[in-house]
């Protein structure tokens, strides 16, 4: 009845194609990424147990703002990270002179966030004198969950923990601003998974209104393409990254937190658009539709459709910035 035969009780094989040489699954090398020889285990964010916020138990970072730590940080950022980033990326910085106008006055520095490169690139783009008195807010549940990581990032980048779980607001940022420190904040709260700018949370505007400090908006372009989520080193080929500082914004008389957040968001988007096009083209004009979030080239929904597909957002976010200078060998570089 059948064309297949075999000894009773023994498996028999019906005609089959040869098995493919490509095997599914990750190789051992990739699998061993899970090895953690020291320190705490890495636990996926969604698998972490809920911990109610404990008031007054923040990761101590005062030591990282001591003169010795500042000197070490300056040497690390200026002597190691800056040349290293220049070797891996082609980058341009525009508008850093805004800090000259601010003088010694502390400021909030607010930027879009799509990559682990953002904070480093932003710090390295700051004038050295500004950088020296700048700290970066970092997610307490990510950067400060392990002692080793908390200590190292506090020393290297001057990070301070910020609770993004919606617990009681920390007084540390306010204290830092009052002590004269500049504070870098990424109001999206996390890196964009697809390069598209996410909604800004209200914390930055809240701080600005309550402390009265100016806010320096920053448009970062190209960092998602250079090192998106999931990568720990920039992609090869020296991708282009640009950092564009905007004029300081101050909350107006009638500005509430939401209104000021909307202004900040619009200005960051405008800076990204300015970087893509020109200052003139980026200016809002009466009667024209507002540019899409994340810049003029960001993915927009098709007419009558909802959210654009993820690939379109990634596509838009990974479009290389237009070369700022001609790249012909005869034209000079």
């Amino acid at each position: 009845m059948s064309g297949v035969s075999g000894a009773s009780g023994r498996p028999v094989r019906a005609g089959s194609s040869s098995s493919s040489s490509r095997r599914p699954g990750v190789g051992l090398r990739q699998a061993t990424r899970g090895f953690r020889l020291g320190g705490q285990r890495l636990v996926p964010a969604s698998a972490q147990p809920y911990r109610p916020p404990l008031p007054g138990r923040e990761f101590p970072t005062e030591w990282a703002r001591s003169p010795v730590a500042r000197a070490a940080r300056a040497a690390f950022l200026g002597g190691i990270m800056d040349p290293l980033l220049h070797s891996q990326l082609r980058w341009t910085v525009e508008g850093a002179e805004v800090f000259t106008g601010l003088g010694e006055q502390p400021a909030l520095i607010v930027a879009n966030h799509a990559s682990h490169l953002d904070a480093t690139v932003l710090l390295c783009a700051l004038p050295a004198a500004v950088r020296e008195r700048t700290v970066v807010t970092a997610a307490a549940d990510y950067f400060f969950e392990s002692t080793w990581r908390g200590l190292s990032t506090a020393l290297a980048f001057g990070t301070v923990p910020i609770d993004r779980s919606g617990g009681a607001p920390s007084t540390t940022p306010v204290d830092l601003l009052r002590d004269g420190w500049n504070l870098v904040i990424f109001p999206e709260g996390t890196r964009s998974p697809d390069g598209a700018r996410a909604r800004f949370k209200l914390g930055a505007a809240y701080l600005a209104i309550n402390t009265g400090v100016p806010v320096v908006p920053v448009g970062l372009r190209g960092t998602f393409a250079a090192m998106p989520r999931g990568r720990s080193w920039p992609v090869p080929g020296r991708p282009e990254v640009s950092v564009r500082f905007g004029r300081p914004l101050r909350p107006g008389e009638g500005d509430d937190v939401r209104g000021f957040t909307a202004r900040l968001t619009a200005e960051v988007d405008r800076l990204v658009t300015e970087d893509e096009t020109s200052w003139w083209a980026s200016l809002p004009r009466p009667g024209q539709p507002t540019p899409p979030p994340g810049g003029s080239r960001a993915a927009v929904p098709a007419p009558g459709r909802g959210e654009p597909a993820r690939w379109r957002k990634v596509w838009a976010a990974t479009e290389p910035p237009a070369p700022s200078r001609p790249r012909s060998p005869w034209a000079g570089s």
Partner: protein
């Protein structure tokens, strides 16, 4: 420490490569960021004293007099029990069925019952061997009753079948004559998943083909949404009608037991733990096995897996009237396996393990793999399927076109002859089922050897009917191309290729859910 419930993980950068079963192999796979992973609850603690729990269940049954009061001298007592299709893998000795049967027999002896027969409720499954039966019932019971009064049910022994009646839906109820003519049937089950037990025990386990065909057909299986929810399963509704009719003719005392999620022994602890909580030893075992298994000779790899014995612990024993007992049993099963999942996704991923209900000591042939994947794993839901209508399912299994002739002779012909003609369950049912169900050679092998009944591969195919109807695309990662093509599916070399292949159905950016099983998890999809 309290037992942690099941939960849905979202894959992020910190998520290590996740374990995926692939037949007699294991993989570590990196799924895309944002993939949802459904983990079953941790193993519940077993009852501290199993024998005391059994005694208590028999003395204080649900909706029935205590068993002691149902036993009397001169009565005909039949004890029927589930065959080796559950639990999977087999549980460490002593098997819970043997422990229950011993206590039932002790009570019967006290009451002076002489006429006792024990029947393995195999339905159309293969006959269990003497060693397998002894493993389940224990040496004491085996020596006392084998072979005359402890035997496999024979669904083709016309003289030993009794047509009890017809349900109001016109379904024939025909079961083992000895059982039907007994003063009392005691049915002992292991309720591994929510699909088992209830009226699925006696009316199916002891039935004939004439009775089974009413619910084991493509139409009923298509309208069983899902098998894990008997209130929404046409197959279970039919069995329930038969069970109620049967209960009017014969007294049935059901004993149902549930086990926890400890589906693997301690040394394979990594198979039941969450990957980011693996100890060094677990990591070494996982990485060692994933890389060593493909290099092992097939025979040794097969032996390694088939020798796995689960460290199941008994979580509940309930006895009494079938439906009342089953309600209690389902509570216990749900406590161990139910996981709330928010909404459906475009793609469902499952890794099929080395064993299913029908390949104990045999290879898992392509038809059984299809039944396990599209029949069982796809149906591990309550409410709505984990994957949306016309979404895609990606399964990990080698789908090797190998068959164990001793157990699955009709499968070979089903694969070569029937599937070559059509893969549509309704078509093959109409055209081929009767021929295979009445083939004298298959019947002979079923009755005298250890072969599944000739119609059994059809039933396996019907199990997958609902899945095939619901899904828009099915791709097997690592599957044999020709075997998959024979069954109407496609094979991919890698997960990335599979995603590429299903992009025509679900787009380039689908939402993905990976059902991390075994141990079993039933997704309660909201």
């Amino acid at each position: 420490m309290a037992v942690r419930p099941g939960f849905v993980l979202e894959v992020d950068e910190r998520t290590p490569p996740l374990l995926v079963h692939q037949g007699e192999g294991l993989l570590l796979e990196q799924f895309p960021l944002g993939t949802r992973v459904v983990y079953p609850p941790e193993s519940l603690p077993g009852v501290p004293d199993v024998d005391a729990a059994i005694a208590d269940a028999l003395e204080h049954p649900q909706g029935s007099e205590p068993l002691r009061e149902l036993l009397f001298a001169g009565m005909k007592l039949t004890i029927a029990f589930d065959d080796l299709s559950i639990p999977l893998p087999r549980m460490r000795r002593p098997d819970i069925r043997g422990r229950v049967i011993e206590q039932v027999l002790t009570l019967a002896a006290e009451a002076g019952v002489d006429d006792v027969q024990l029947i393995v409720a195999t339905a159309l499954h293969r006959r269990m061997t003497a060693a397998e039966i002894e493993y389940v019932v224990g040496e004491r019971v085996f020596r006392s009753f084998w072979p005359d009064n402890l035997y496999n049910h024979d669904a083709e022994d016309r003289d030993n079948l009794l047509h009890v009646g017809v349900t109001d839906h016109g379904e024939d109820v025909e079961i083992n004559r000895r059982a039907a003519e007994s003063d009392l049937i005691v049915y002992v089950n292991v309720n591994l998943v929510a699909m088992d037990g209830g009226h699925k025990s006696v009316p199916i386990g002891l039935a004939s083909y004439n009775s089974l065909r009413h619910h084991h057909n493509s139409h009923t299986m298509l309208h069983s949404n899902s098998f894990m929810d008997h209130t929404r399963s046409a197959m279970h509704s039919s069995a329930w009608r038969m069970g109620r009719l049967l209960a009017q003719h014969v007294k049935i005392f059901t004993v149902e037991t549930t086990v926890n999620n400890q589906a693997f022994p301690e040394k394979y602890g990594f198979l039941t733990k969450r990957e980011w909580e693996w100890s060094r030893k677990d990591q070494a075992m996982a990485y060692g096995m994933t890389s060593a298994l493909p290099k092992l000779p097939t025979r040794q790899r097969h032996r390694l897996f088939q020798n796995i014995v689960a460290d199941y612990q008994v979580t509940a024993v309930n006895a009494g009237e079938t439906e009342a007992v089953h309600e209690k049993t389902l509570e216990s099963v749900h406590r161990q396996q139910l996981v709330e999942v928010n909404g459906q996704s475009d793609v469902l991923i499952v890794g099929l393990p080395y064993i299913g209900p029908y390949n104990s000591d045999a290879v898992m042939n392509p038809i059984l793999a299809t039944c396990l994947g599209l029949g069982y794993f796809f149906n591990m839901y309550r409410g709505r399927p984990l994957v949306r209508h016309k979404g895609a399912m990606i399964l990990y299994h080698p789908v090797t076109p190998e068959f164990t002739q001793l157990h699955h002779p009709s499968y070979v012909d089903f694969y070569e002859e029937v599937l070559a003609e059509s893969t549509d369950p309704a078509t093959i049912e109409a055209k081929f089922e009767k021929q295979y169900a009445t083939d004298p050679w298959y019947i002979h092998l079923y009755r005298t050897s250890h072969a599944y009944h000739g119609v059994h591969p059809f039933y396996m195919w019907y199990w997958a009917t609902h899945g095939m109807d619901h899904l828009g695309d099915v791709v097997w990662v690592g599957g044999d191309r020709r075997a998959c093509a024979r069954m109407g599916f496609r094979a991919a070399s890698t997960f990335a290729d599979a995603l590429e292949m299903v992009s025509g159905t679900v787009g380039r950016d689908p939402s993905i859910t990976y059902l991390h099983s075994p141990p079993h998890a039933i997704a309660d999809v909201r």
